[in-house]
């Protein structure tokens, strides 16, 4: 029983280079994630972006890039629930998000692992879990609609 990590795998019917571009170019990443992100994913780089969902534009996410291995691996750290305005999250632990790419017969297999939840302050975890349930679901609907048009 792991309470520390989330792992997801999906097969994308697109070449690895295409998937890599969607992950590693900040603008493209932001387009499907729902984040106005600028800059390059380079090791050590810090990217800040505002959420683009109506009603959530006041929220920003900060990403600190760790590893960039073209068409193979991209990893970054972030504060998974940096959602309360006016709170300084700089001193709090982050979670690590890792994207791994592999060729499969009909496209590209992408694995995402987010780990380090045990390090997140408990009170925030508890609040965030609740926030996620309500805020994100709404946000995702908007994004799905946007992408589909």
């Amino acid at each position: 029983m792991s309470m520390d990590r989330i792992e997801k795998t999906i097969v994308l019917h697109a070449p690895r280079s295409r998937v890599w571009r969607a992950l590693s170019q900040a603008k493209e990443f932001g387009a499907w994630f729902g984040l106005a992100l600028e800059g390059d994913f380079a090791p050590g780089a810090r990217l800040t972006g505002r959420l683009t969902t109506p009603g959530h534009e006041h929220l920003t996410l900060e990403i600190t890039v760790e590893r960039v291995e073209p068409e193979h691996l991209l990893s970054y750290r972030w504060h998974p629930y940096a959602i309360e305005p006016g709170v300084d999250y700089a001193s709090e632990p982050t979670t690590l998000v890792e994207f791994q790419l592999a060729d499969v017969a009909d496209g590209t297999q992408l694995t995402v692992v987010e780990s380090g939840f045990e390090g997140i302050p408990l009170a925030r975890r508890a609040i965030a879990f609740r926030m996620n349930d309500q805020g994100w679901a709404e946000q995702l609907t908007h994004i799905a609609r946007y992408v589909a048009t």
């Binding site: 029983m1 998937v19 499907w32 992408l110 609740r130 995702l140 992408v147």
Partner: protein
């Protein structure tokens, strides 16, 4: 965001739950109770390097979080796993997992739509993609 839907616990309720789960010995105890069913401290301590006293302390922390409960059987206390609270904890993590599902679904649309709408054949598009620096 202050909506309080039915079935949503107050955050203050969840904090001790995660505190209780954030310890290797306690997670091991939950595993043993899950795999071996209700059992006594004597059995839970068997084969462990942790003292009976420490195990007792951990069990009480788990009990305070609503993860286990004890009952008296003869001269012994029998500890039982309460799966309801564990399910709640797992559900919390599941919510984040669902966000990833949704995000990956959008990524899938994002990269696959382009393939379908490309004017060239699939293999041409594939070739062109591969040739990019």
């Amino acid at each position: 965001m202050s909506r309080r839907s039915s079935g949503t616990r107050d955050p203050a309720d969840a904090a001790p739950l995660f505190a209780a789960l954030g310890d290797a010995t306690r997670l091991a105890l939950l595993d043993r109770l899950g795999a071996g069913g209700p059992q006594s401290i004597t059995r839970l301590t068997a084969g462990s390097s942790v003292t009976r006293q420490a195990i007792t302390k951990h069990l009480h922390i788990l009990a305070d979080a609503g993860l286990v409960h004890d009952s008296r059987r003869g001269r012994e206390r029998i500890w039982t796993l309460d799966t309801k609270r564990l399910d709640e904890a797992r559900r919390s993590l599941d919510q984040i997992a669902q966000q990833w599902d949704a995000a990956l679904g959008r990524l899938k649309m994002f990269v696959e739509d382009e393939q379908e709408s490309a004017p060239t054949t699939d293999s041409d598009a594939l070739q062109r993609e591969r040739n990019q620096p």
